[in-house]
């Protein structure tokens, strides 16, 4: 349990944090902008990994494999969108259905195997845990380009229509916005980004695994929420859209650094997901409890009693 071992593990945590931070940008689109809790991501993250590894090992270049991974994620998101808008299935359930379906689809993509390796020695991978500094630079570049693209897109007429749909669907319809179309588009783009990060993660760890996306939604939410709290603390009212997105990625990094510290403290790996769930629950609860503290029945009773 030396400090040195903690520090030697840090760069790896940062690298993973950025990759999950990219995934969290996808979650940010649906959860924050569209106001849609999309559970498809647990499946589409693994889809991205599976498609990338299978294509690279069968001779595709890494960039084109990543593009295909992205497209696969877009299709998955569209399915969730159609389940929700055309077939009227509630948002959470639509996502769960896609997620379950993707489990089988991902297995099929990987030729029935639960785990397929892609060695950095044999293929020209963009990133790998064997080259952590390079990974950090490249993953950060991906994140920055993505943030720039999202900044542009959500400033366009279409992007504004998406944000309006998330903020007030009734008003959006009255303003002539096809809110169902906006939902499908956002879910597609979001899962495209999630699959892209899955493709990066598979390269980083050197394999795709059927379970690599398990709990992705919770990690994504953790990054989004931690980023939000940090951003608010540091920038307050000056936080604009770019800074908000930067902090989403940063939230992912902070999350993995915390995980690194927790592991260094010898918490059993088995308890990691429990730990994550507790962290996210606390961060989700804080804004609510803060509101409660301002106006609660108990306080009202006390005030009443003082008259």
């Amino acid at each position: 349990m030396s400090i040195a071992s903690l520090f030697s593990a840090m760069p790896g945590n940062v690298a993973q944090g950025i990759i999950w931070g990219i995934m969290a940008l996808g979650v940010f689109m649906t959860y924050k902008l569209l106001n849609f809790a999309d559970l498809t991501v647990d499946g589409s993250f693994a889809t991205g990994g599976a498609v990338t590894v299978i294509l690279v090992t069968s001779g595709w270049s890494v960039p084109s494999a990543l593009v295909m991974a992205c497209i696969a994620g877009i299709l998955a998101g569209m399915v969730t969108g159609i389940l929700h808008t055309v077939l009227g299935i509630p948002d959470i359930l639509a996502g769960i259905l896609s997620q379950i379906a993707l489990y089988s689809i991902n297995l099929n993509i990987m030729g029935g195997k639960a785990n397929v390796a892609v060695s950095v020695d044999r293929y020209n991978l963009l990133i790998s845990l064997r080259f952590v500094p390079k990974t950090i630079v490249i993953a950060a570049l991906f994140a920055i380009v993505l943030i720039a693209l999202m900044y542009w897109y959500f400033g366009t007429s279409q992007g504004c229509a998406i944000r309006a749909t998330g903020s007030n669907p009734a008003m959006s319809r009255a303003q002539g916005i096809n809110i169902n179309l906006m939902k499908v588009i956002t879910l597609a783009l979001s899962n495209g980004v999630v699959a892209l990060s899955g493709g990066l993660m598979a390269q980083y760890q050197g394999f795709a695994d059927i379970n690599m996306g398990r709990g992705a939604i919770v990690i994504g939410l953790a990054a989004v929420i931690i980023g939000e709290v940090l951003g608010h603390a540091l920038f307050g009212k000056r936080m604009n859209f770019i800074i908000r997105m930067l902090f989403v990625v940063l939230g992912g990094v902070v999350y993995y650094i915390v995980i690194g510290i927790v592991l260094w403290l010898r918490m059993p790996t088995n308890d990691l997901k429990l730990f994550t769930a507790i962290i996210v629950a606390i961060f989700l609860a804080v804004p609510y409890l803060r509101g409660q503290a301002k106006s609660s029945f108990r306080k009202a009773a006390k005030r009443g009693g003082n008259v």
Binding site: T156, S157, Q158, C160, A161, G166, S172, G176, I177, I179
Partner: protein, 264 residues
């Protein structure tokens, strides 16, 4: 400009909650007509406006706007013809978006939402001028989130949004009912100005008989899902509240039941 013919709407058909909210309501509005709509609670006023807006399909009847039959068009497709302001100030704006972004959204009503900028520099100048005329100090807060505005400010903004692109028909559903009297008067004044300046064909639902008489050039009364009274021209100008109540009792055979409305 607007022809509504014999529309019917029953909510929750075949259940214990079955409610016939529109029962053959008809109305024709000429271009530039400003009609005020009154009627008791549950008379079907909001339902009528929602039917025109296409919130759901009507069971029977037809709705024609400026010569085009829109009966089969869904809400977002009809939106390009309509400006709407609702009773609840929260309904008409996107709280998480800036004042100028809300205006820009409204300016694009009925257009394809593509990849052009969501708001341009030229638009910003135009909105600045328009907000100045509202005289609520909003022109200096164009990048503030709408969620920070008061109810009255939000209604004034919604009104501006509804008329930014000249609508064929402007639908106002008790848009001052949730405001305090002073703010309500100001929003109503703004309404009058915008409607007159732009010569807008307008339906304004109000529970205030005095306002219903003071504004517009025509007055209709609804009861049990039908238009039961129609007063226009000189008759409308000379109308008093007592006369109106009397007429209502005459036509419907019951007493006027909107407790909020009496002489308020």
């Amino acid at each position: 400009m607007l022809q509504v013919k014999e529309i019917y709407k029953t909510f929750n058909p075949g259940t214990v909650n079955e409610k016939r909210a529109l029962n053959g309501a008809s109305l024709t509005l000429e271009e530039g007509e400003f009609v005020t709509v009154i009627g008791g609670n549950g008379a079907g006023k909001s339902t009528f406006l929602n039917a025109v807006a296409g919130v759901w399909p009507v069971d029977a009847g037809s709705i024609v706007i400026d010569g085009e039959d829109v009966t089969g068009l869904c809400e977002y497709k009809r939106a390009k013809y309509l400006g709407r302001v609702f009773q609840d100030p929260m309904t008409g704006t996107a709280a998480d978006m800036e004042i100028q972004e809300n205006l820009a959204l409204a300016a694009r009503r009925g257009q394809r939402r593509g990849l052009g900028w969501g708001i341009s520099g030229k638009e910003r100048e135009r909105y600045h001028e328009m907000l100045k005329i509202l005289d609520l100090g909003l022109e200096d807060r164009m990048t503030s989130k709408v969620g920070l505005l008061s109810g009255g400010q939000r209604q004034a903004l919604t009104l501006l949004m509804a008329t930014l692109q000249k609508p064929k028909v402007l639908l106002l559903d008790e848009h001052t009912a949730a405001l305090d009297p002073k703010t309500a008067a100001k929003v109503l004044e703004t309404t009058e100005r915008i409607v007159t300046e732009n010569h807008l064909t307008t339906m304004m639902v109000t529970h205030n008989m005095r306002d219903a008489i003071a504004h517009g050039n025509r007055l209709i009364m609804m009861n049990e899902g039908k238009v039961i009274l129609n007063i226009a021209g000189e008759e409308k100008k000379k109308l008093t509240i007592e006369e109106l109540l009397h007429k209502f009792e005459e036509v419907s055979g019951t007493e006027f039941t909107n407790d909020k409305a009496i002489l308020s």
